[in-house]
């Protein structure tokens, strides 16, 4: 009886959490602010226009705000700016050399998984097969 109740409570809690996760948004951020954080401030050093206090960054933020109000999509705004200032996006598009940025870590992860899997699959060690430099402590 007690375990049934505990299971029920757990299930309800899990349901609430799942509902929160599935229907939830990332952060309820302002679209202009979110876009600004994806655009590099061209005159700063490694800051986004949303973070930078410089006038130049503020001007671009104002431009972004204007275009958002005019109904441009995020991609339209980013493309427009990218054409004017190369490399202005902080999350580079999936093209050209930037592809490497996405592929390399993925490849590294895959390589690691294969390596780890081979470790798990390897036949049990054969007695007398070379003396290990590191002796297991057990």
């Amino acid at each position: 009886m007690r375990s049934v109740l505990a299971g029920l409570v757990t299930a309800v809690l899990a349901g609430v959490v799942l509902w929160g996760l599935v229907t939830g948004e990332a952060a309820d951020r302002d679209r202009v602010e979110a876009l600004g954080s994806r655009i590099r401030c061209p005159v700063c050093q490694g800051e986004s226009i949303a973070d930078s206090p410089t006038q130049y960054a503020r001007d671009i933020m104002a431009f972004v705000e204007e275009k958002v109000e005019e109904g441009w999509t995020d991609e339209q705004i980013l493309d427009y700016l990218e054409n004017r200032f190369a490399g202005i996006r902080l999350d580079p598009r999936f093209s050209g050399g930037a592809v490497l940025l996405w592929l390399l870590p993925a490849a590294a992860a895959g390589f690691g998984v294969v390596l780890a899997a081979r470790r798990l699959m390897r036949p049990r060690d054969i007695p007398g097969r070379g003396k290990p430099m590191s002796e297991p402590d057990e």
């Binding site: 757990t10 809690l13 899990a14 609430v16 959490v17 509902w19 929160g20 996760l21 229907t23 939830g24 948004e25 990332a26 952060a27 309820d28 602010e33 590099r40 700063c44 050093q45 490694g46 800051e47 986004s48 973070d51 930078s52 206090p53 503020r58 190369a86 490399g87 202005i88 996006r89 902080l90 999350d91 580079p92 050209g96 050399g97 930037a98 490497l100 940025l101 870590p105 590294a108 992860a109 690691g112 998984v113 780890a116 470790r119 798990l120 699959m121 390897r122 036949p123 049990r124 060690d125 097969r129 070379g130 003396k131 290990p132 430099m133 590191s134 002796e135 297991p136 402590d137 057990e138």
Partner: protein
Amino acid sequence: MTAIAWNMTAWLGLGAVLTALGGAAALAWRGLPALLGRGPVGAGRTRGPVLWMLGGAAAAMALLEIGLLTNDFSISYIADNHRSGAPLIFTAAAGWAALEGSIVLWGLVLAGFTASAYRSLARPGHPLAGGTLAVLGLLGVFWFGLMATAANPFAVCTSAAEAGCSLSSWAPWSLADPPVDGRGANPLLQNHILMAVHPPVLYLGYVGFSVPFAIGIASLAAARRGSDWLAAARRWTLAAWGFLTAGIVLGAWWSYEVLGWGGYWAWDPVENASFIPWLLATAFIHSSVVQARRGVLSSWNYVLVIGTFAATILGTFLTRSGVIASVHSFTQSAVGPILLGFLAVVLIGALALFALRVHLIGSAPRLDSLASREGAFLVNNLLLAVFAFVVLSGTLLPLGIEAVSGRTVGVGRPFFDRWAAPLAYCLILTMGIGPVTPFRVARPEVMRRRLVTPLRIALAAAAVVVLAVGRNRHLVLVTLLGVFAAAAILRHLAVSVSARRRASGEGAGAAMVRLVLRDPGYWGGQLSHMGVAVLAAGIAVSANLSLSGALDLAPGERASFAGYEMVYEGPFSRVEPTRTVVGARLEVFRGGRPAAVLHPRLNDYGGASGPIVTPAVHSTLRGDLYVSITRLDEEGLHADVWSYPLQWMVWLGGLITASGAGFSLLASRRRAGRGGAGRGGGGRGGGVRDGASVEPGRAASVEPAVSDRA
């Protein structure tokens, strides 16, 4: 008549640097037989060189500080980075605020660690002591050699500029032409007291990784069988890792308090440069346990130790060469190519040595099952390595692409966040499951018993967040995973304590203290894990529940923001010895009651860079109110405001994480001291034992096997 000028600081300084260089060279020479595998080197042969190296390095740092305190502008470093009348703390901090001085500090820390390695390895007669000291001596030759040549902190100013120095000479006998006053340090570096603390702590971390690297190289070079390098390397990595963690947290705090952009971490290349060695060292701290306990991952551990050290050199190169445009790249000089060359030598040399020896490192037994502690460690290492790789490629690839194609590729926060969030979630999950998983094979019913209650608690907490705060995906996920990890650890502690009480009849407090002290490596690790859970929650709250806005107020006007009422009372200004401060007086109310008076400022140090925006932060348990001026004129105040709920969790979590390492080291040292065992050779400081679990009925299968303490 050409007189030989008596520039005392320059003469003595160069003498100190050369003394340290000589000591380092002698140390390398005397340790060489051990490094080449021709037998151990007695502690007596290395003692003198270690002392010379330490004495020279300490004298160099002291002379630079004395020069700064006495306004000796005949030294061009001092002329360029100091100004008379600067506050004492920033005068002292100028000793490491720029390139040459930072290398002096680096040298001092390296010499200190070398002396410490001598004490804990050579004196007790650790078999790898000679080789380790030889490698540290070689590293010393590089750094002190750099000080004597390309980055001489004691160069004489031979032609004064209006402020600072326009020409300088390496030779201490040059005729000095000191400027009337110095140029002063970079304004950003003298704007907050944390700048005096953050670099030394960070350096203790960075330079500390030289020691495990040296131990690893000594072990490979001598082709010694056995894993006796591991315990010592782990202990040193743990110490350096603790400092690096604290240094990174202090740096983030500094960025938050000084830079005025309203954040603390920007995935800036220089931040990344400190994060990559942190990730790799974290991986090593975990994987070394697996090798000590189960004999697997032995070659991987060498790779991690070499990689961590190389990452610190890479980080120094990125910071100090100015190759990456970054808010932190304060200095640019010819040192860049030299550091790059050093990095290449280290990487090629160490990896070639590794390749020559890898056949000796032996094939360890395979894992019994992925569902085991070592399996969890494997997953943890995979995640950390991929994380490090992501940060590395995001930092370096833009440079490569630009070099090859000339096209600028911006890589910033969105890219890193996209990778970091899922990797961090997986890591926190592993953090909850791994530490309570038995070695070898974890039976499902054991895991169920250990994880069901934590899971229920986590679900309850996450459900509360969903209902009370909202359906914010990141917040719910962080709560679920963080509370799960914390609850799993605390449950394990509670169960272990009560098992111990049943067995020994001790009181709850005494049982807990004894239990924790019996295995400080494990429980220190769990303390760090709790810190990471708090840190993750703090980051998620601050990122997802923060509010931002803009103030536009004439004197006397009032605005409300995020539950605060703010009244702009008016501007103020004052002239200080090294700067002019202009700011706004802002009275803050909360719930109708006065809460604080904030003074966001613009500090003008008179340089070309213009005034430095200095934010004002009102911190409470509830969270921070952060105000940063954008414009201040007769008409009024224009400022950005942010509200960061629970921001203290980020700092507290970070410091708890760092303190876990401190606890492990101090408590295991105490154990070793009481047990009468030498701290060197067999001393398994830092707790490679890890995780003597006292789950009732399961104790036998996980009883620690490492008992070669004495």
